[in-house]
Amino acid sequence: MERQDDTVVSLRGVRAELGSRPVLRGIDLAVRRGEVVALLGANGSGKSTAVRSAIGQVPVTAGEVALFGTPLGRFRDWARVGYVPQRTTTEGGVPATVTEIVSAGRLARTRFGLFRGADRAAVREALERVGMADRAKDPVTALSGGQHQRVLIARALAVEPELLIMDEPMAGVDLASQEVLAHTLREEVGRGTAVLLVLHELGPLEPLIDRAVVLRDGCVLHDGPPPRASADIPPSSPLRSSRGYPQPGHDHVHPHDASGAAPIRTGPLS
């Protein structure tokens, strides 16, 4: 197929069961190089399962999954993939610092887990990009939920991936930090990184998103342009691309922007 070359994630007719209950019922999903695709849908619609089946964490009962054109079963090049799981409250029983957690994300780029100067620099840079460099030596248990989430994003960035898969990366992250992360993500996309992310509200990420896939009950309901927050701004307008990250000359803050201008709720009605 002609799109094989630049398709970084492809799910075709994917079905999956969890606890003998069908959760995905034939999903088609493709993300091309440099593309940002948002996966939307109500709680329990199968977003996390779809994302986890794309990286082989959920066994697929039918259909095909491929990463970078390689069937998942034969895919070994994990250094090209960065993954941010949906945050769970389970933590290891032993204290670990922010740096130690983020370093685990860099392992795929090392030989036998030996860290060189470049690896340490990559870990530091990843922390800087999520605005957590000042907490590098703190134990993760001393972080708030949103800070913890930013550490998990840094862990995915540390490997310098070509494909970022993020499951609700903005959950619990305050608006200011969301904008910092949107800015980081824009840089990533500028380098050609493809992004597949699960979201409930587009928020500051909205101008970045090329395409939205909406799931309902394990089926794709919509695959196309993202549901637009404000219909009066056309998608091609430069206004759209300038919104959503801090502007040096734009000191007038709209405190209601996030909740007011982004009424994209992915409830059962959407």
Partner: protein, 305 residues
């Protein structure tokens, strides 16, 4: 101290130091993945190996190593495949292992449960030169794995799903962890005893958690505590003629209690900067001790709003 006792004491101390290093070194990964009691299960299974050693007149250290490695691999396989009945299967493995040990020892010519006692609670006088050789070899393996693969084992124990997405051979690493834990059990068997092995894997780590802020520091502190209590317990049991295992474990628990009491104030001090940093995206250069309320708005006004 005559020479015989001196040589015996030297062997016992060497074995004790190796136990003090290896048990917390693998224990920290078990605690991190919340499998603190895995060592206890392996200890039960190893009893069959000890019994088998008596029955075949082979070295119980090596037969126990073989059986406990097999048992640990089986436990890991049960963890993968036996989702619902997993705990029942584990229970059968543990108690089957214990019963097998008792059965084999009594089947052995001239054997009785008394032979088993020194393996259950540890004993200094029975640590033979060949035991020390075996313990040295096994301990070298444990140290090589727990230090050499520390980043990989940390990643797998911290977040197994993420580790798989970084391309780590998670299944192989899990099996290696299980095997290393089994080997550690047999390293510790002569000194601490099979029934108390698990305590030395878990308690020094729990004590170190009270002080350590990073995984690396917790690792180092746990090993330091492990070595201190095994040396202390060995020396004490030499002079008091009590089983070393019990002394060592009680010392470890004492260390845990002492460190918990000592670290309570710093824990409170640590919590404050974290709370202060929460509202702002960037932490102020110095953590203020209190909130600065804007002059125009009083606290009462805020509460009334």
């Amino acid at each position: 101290m005559d020479f015989l006792n001196y040589a015996l004491m030297q062997r016992a101390l060497l074995a004790a130091v190796l136990v003090g290093v290896t048990a917390p070194a693998i224990g920290i990964y078990l605690v991190q993945r919340r499998q603190s009691l895995m060592g206890d299960g392996i200890g039960h299974v190893a009893m069959t190996g000890v019994g088998l050693g008596f029955l075949l007149s082979a070295s119980p250290v090596w037969t126990a190593t073989a059986v406990s490695v097999a048992g640990a691999l089986l436990m890991e396989l049960i963890r993968w495949y036996g989702r619902t009945r997993g705990d029942i299967a584990l229970a059968m493995l543990f108690y089957g292992g214990m019963s097998g040990g008792v059965l084999f020892v009594n089947l052995a010519p001239g054997g009785s449960n008394a032979n088993l006692t020194s393996y259950l609670f540890g004993s200094l006088s029975t640590v033979s030169p060949s035991d020390v050789t075996a313990i040295c070899l096994l301990a070298a393996f444990v140290v090589a794995v727990t230090l050499g693969l520390r980043r990989q084992l940390f990643a797998v124990s911290q977040d197994e799903e993420f580790a798989r997405v970084t391309g780590l051979p998670v299944r192989a690493l899990n099996l290696l962890t299980a095997v290393t834990a089994a080997v550690t059990v047999t390293v510790a068997m002569r000194v601490v005893g099979l029934l108390l092995v698990s305590a030395l894997m878990v308690v020094p780590v729990a004590a170190a958690q009270q002080l350590g802020r990073s995984f690396a520091a917790t690792f180092a502190i746990a090993v330091a505590i492990g070595v201190s209590v095994t040396i202390g317990g060995t020396v004490t049991s030499y002079y008091q003629d009590v089983p070393p295992g019990a002394t060592i474990v009680l010392l470890a628990i004492a260390a845990f209690v002492a460190l918990t009491a000592l670290s309570a104030p710093p824990a409170r001090r640590r919590a404050r900067p974290a709370a202060a940093a929460r509202p702002a995206a960037a932490r102020p250069a110095a953590d203020p001790a209190g909130c600065t309320i804007p002059a125009t708005r009083g606290a009462a006004e805020e509460a009334g709003a």
